[in-house]
């Protein structure tokens, strides 16, 4: 993490920053006092970067228990006159939305910027979602940066607008901006910060909504002139282009490069919109008047497209006939992310200018090689991951139980258990905490003749984020289900941020850990604790719990392999005795490589035996427990 650069007091210096780091820097330059978030890819580095410099910069940074609370914490600062930033991924905005859709009606007194980072194509998410609709839903301004430098400056602009209209402003980023790095020229850092004060002479409430809703609309209108004159909306190209490309966010990079590669500088104009809501109406009208073909290029849903068409509909009497190309016309795919190849193809088709395609046969040869020389590389739990062991124990327990138990899955590294790496044990995967909710619901169905046991897996961070209310519900309604808490003492998937169970907070200070066992006990359920690395014991324990009625909690506790790996080197050296290894014959059929599938293993085709990959194996020794031939030999660290 580029910690020293975010807080560097060198205005004008150009550094290499990740989009998220630029956003963090923009928040600092805007003079925030408070930053809060729950980790979520691709947003985690924003508050992560601020946490690293919190003490140095004298700000308060918090990894909150979930996104709703994060927004509430930030809002408290904002209604007391401070500037606050909150960051989340698309799903996090869904969690925070109940509060957001009230806060927008009460307004604030300082500045609050909500950064939402969408994940087009759902590369690291359970869904694909365009969060920009929240702007219209909540009547809040929304801005989209198109470069790294803009990511910083647009956040400062967002605070400016937020303070002016006394309401939240949303900044929407995507993976290709948030996780990409580029040159950013640093600006000045503020030297003072206001003292928080809540003016108690005035109350903050959305009631009655019939009054507060029009007020929200008014606030939005107040942003209008700042938006019309914003440099984040700009046009580049001929006065009357044959094709006008209207784009926002990451689409701008792709559009410019495709234009240059195809040599379309004299035919094609690019209108970049940084203020997606409200739209700079005058600018749009001005540009629409000078063309008859418009392509709208954006990530995920046709939000900008619909906004533009709305303006066109309102003013069409004074505008020419226009053909619109975008998601609606099928020109741009309506799901998945933009890419240079995609945009090149679209420009080529719309302009008739052919893509450069050499005759040398290279591309055919190289594409053909893909299949033969690059085998699929599926995601897998890291070597030494306790989740592999936990799912193995669950698999065995469910087989012995024989009643076709249903495991409801949840979000975290263990979400990968859905794949062969977790033996496909979880049968569902939805949102944070929904495994517990669904499992407890399923556990009420025996009254209809259901006989399948109900179980869920839930990470330690997920437990605090969302599972507790579902657990309270389960206990009170006497649901028959087993909650297995996979406690690897980390919010691992997103980068090891602390959570309320950790002994330290975001800023590195000592923090009283909230103990999972004590939370469970306070609900009247004494949890059992077991070590997933003791496979037989863990499987026996899961089995035993499945035979009991009511709500049961089992904590499978073992440290995340990556966290452990930072503290100590390999635990034990392991090798496989080929004399004993049965391999692919009847009696084993490659249990370790074919079923257990740890990346630390290898299959030696020439001798048909399993082997350990020394560069990858971390020496956890779990594989040694499953081998039917006792062929694994441990040789001490």
């Amino acid at each position: 993490m580029t910690m020293s650069l975010i807080s560097l007091d060198s205005p004008g210096r150009e550094v290499l920053l990740m989009g998220n780091e630029a956003i963090a820097r923009g928040a600092l330059e805007a003079g925030i006092s408070v930053a809060a978030a729950y980790p979520g890819n691709p947003s985690s580095e924003i508050i992560g970067a601020l946490a690293d410099v919190a003490n140095e910069m004298g700000i308060y940074v918090e990894w909150s228990v979930n996104e709703k609370v994060a927004l509430e914490v930030a809002a408290a600062a904002a209604v007391s006159g401070l500037n606050a930033v909150v960051a989340m991924k698309q799903n996090g905005l869904n969690v925070a939305s109940d509060f957001l859709l009230n806060l927008n009606l009460t307004g604030i007194r300082g500045g609050l910027v909500l950064v939402v980072c969408d994940d087009p194509a759902g590369i690291s998410s359970t869904n694909e979602q365009d969060s920009r609709i929240f702007a219209r839903l909540a009547d809040l301004p929304l801005f989209e940066p198109s470069s790294f430098h803009e990511a910083k400056d647009i956040v400062r602009f967002a605070f400016e607008v937020s303070r002016k209209i006394n309401n939240v402003c949303i900044v929407r980023s995507v993976t290709r901006i948030s996780h990409a790095r580029g040159n950013v020229a640093l600006g000045p850092l503020p030297t003072t910060r206001p003292v928080p004060h809540f003016d108690t002479s005035k109350q903050l409430s959305s009631l009655p909504a019939i009054v507060s809703h029009p007020v929200a609309h008014e606030r939005l209108k107040q942003a209008a002139d700042l938006i019309e004159s914003s440099p984040f909306n700009c046009y580049e190209g001929p006065e009357t282009p044959e094709l006008l490309v209207i784009t926002c966010g990451s689409g701008w990079f792709f559009a410019r490069e495709a234009r240059d590669i195809l040599g379309l500088g004299s035919q094609l104009g690019i209108l970049k919109i940084g203020t997606t809501w409200p739209m700079p109406e005058n600018l749009i009208r001005e540009r629409l008047a000078k063309t008859q073909r418009v392509l709208i290029l954006e990530e995920v849903d046709p939000v900008l497209e619909n906004n533009v068409k709305e303006i066109f509909a309102d003013f069409n009497a004074s505008l020419p006939q226009i053909s619109f190309y975008g998601k609606k016309s099928g020109t741009v795919p309506d799901s998945g992310e933009l890419s240079p190849g995609l945009v090149l193809g679209i420009f080529s088709r719309l302009t008739g200018v052919a893509l450069p395609s050499p005759e040398d046969g290279y591309r055919a040869s190289a594409s053909a090689a893909l299949g033969e020389f690059s085998p699929m590389r599926s995601l897998a739990f890291c070597p030494g991951c306790p989740h592999r062991a936990s799912f193995w124990a669950i698999k065995k327990a469910l087989a012995l139980d024989g009643r076709d138990g249903v495991l409801f899955g949840d979000i975290g590294c263990y979400g990968l258990g859905f794949l062969p790496t977790g033996f496909r044990q979880p049968k569902t995967l939805h949102a944070m905490g929904s495994g517990t909710g669904m499992a407890s619901g399923f556990g009420m169905l025996s009254r209809f003749g259901a006989t399948q046991p109900s179980l869920t897996v839930c990470g330690d961070s997920t437990f605090f984020h969302a599972a507790i209310p579902a657990l309270v519900n389960a206990v009170h309604h006497r649901s028959d289900f087993l909650m297995i808490i996979l406690d690897n003492s980390a919010t691992a998937m997103t980068g090891f941020q602390p959570h309320p169970g950790s002994p330290r907070d975001a800023m590195g200070s000592e923090a009283p850990p909230v103990v999972i066992e004590e939370v469970c006990a306070s609900l009247g359920v004494e949890p059992i604790v077991a070590d997933p690395f003791d496979l037989n014991d863990a499987a026996a324990t899961v089995y035993e719990q499945l035979q009991r009625p009511g709500t049961k909690i089992l904590i499978l506790r073992q440290e995340c392999a990556l966290v452990r790996g930072r503290k100590e080197s390999r635990r034990e050296r392991i090798r496989i005795d080929h004399e004993k290894c049965i391999g692919e014959e009847c009696g084993c059929n490659r249990l370790c490589t074919r079923v257990f599938r740890c990346p630390g293993l290898k299959w030696n085709c020439s001798v048909s035996k399993a082997e350990i990959d020394e560069a990858i194996c971390v020496g956890c020794g779990v594989c040694a427990q499953i081998c039917p031939a006792g062929a694994f030999v441990k040789e001490g660290a």
Binding site: G182, N183, I261, P375, F381, R597
Partner: protein
């Protein structure tokens, strides 16, 4: 830099230090006054999946975070099948390939669902699809230094030693200090120098 933009793909398997490698390269070049854009795909990919960093280097212009198809100039591969994967999407007759030859078997191969290609055939294919190819036993060198993850910096050393990018040992020290931690400067400097040394006895077309 023989071309503007100069497009580099750093590729490997999640957990190999791919992101750090591209960051070090980018940091050095920004300090030298270049506009650098690095596009990554990571997150879940870290869990054993393929990772690619696209590094766009230009004197004048900030380019987008993804290289257009068939337009990379240099591929630095921490794993050989990942080199083939890059060449099949971003390669062209002028590309230079710097490849760590130690295989990392995907779980798909470990489990028997897929086969790992024959190494000679694979390296031969990479050579066929590149203008120049450097094959390096970077992991072995890194393990001699005590940690296989240093293979990434060994490869940067090879790239610098071959004159493919303007990077010196001092550059690496500064970048590690600014972007990583002062404690890690020495080991990374040594890995870099080992890489530079290797070029003197490298294998190429």
């Amino acid at each position: 830099m023989r071309k503007d933009p100069f497009n580099v793909v750093v590729t490997g398997v999640g957990g190999q230090g791919n992101v750090l490698a591209s960051l070090l390269i980018g940091a050095v070049l920004v300090d030298r006054g270049f506009k650098v854009t690095i596009g990554e795909t990571y997150g879940a990919s870290q869990r054993g999946g393929s990772v690619m960093s696209h590094v766009r280097i230009s004197r004048a212009h900030q380019y987008g975070p993804l290289i257009p198809p068939w337009s990379a100039d240099l591929v630095i591969a921490l794993e050989p099948t990942e080199a083939a994967r890059v060449l099949g999407q971003f390669g062209n007759p002028g590309i230079v390939s710097v490849v760590n030859t130690r295989p990392i078997h995907p779980v798909d191969v470990i489990s028997g669902d897929a086969t790992y290609p024959d190494m000679d055939a694979l390296l031969g294919k990479i050579r066929e699809l590149s203008l120049e190819a450097y094959f390096v036993q970077a992991t072995e060198k890194a393990m001699e230094l005590g940690n296989p993850i240093l293979a990434n910096v060994v490869l940067i050393g090879v790239v610098a030693g071959a004159g493919l990018l303007p990077i010196t040992a001092q550059d690496v020290e500064k970048a590690v200090t600014d972007y990583l931690s002062p404690h890690k400067v020495e080991i990374n400097r040594r890995a870099f120098l080992i890489g530079m040394e290797l070029v003197k006895g490298h294998e190429r077309i």
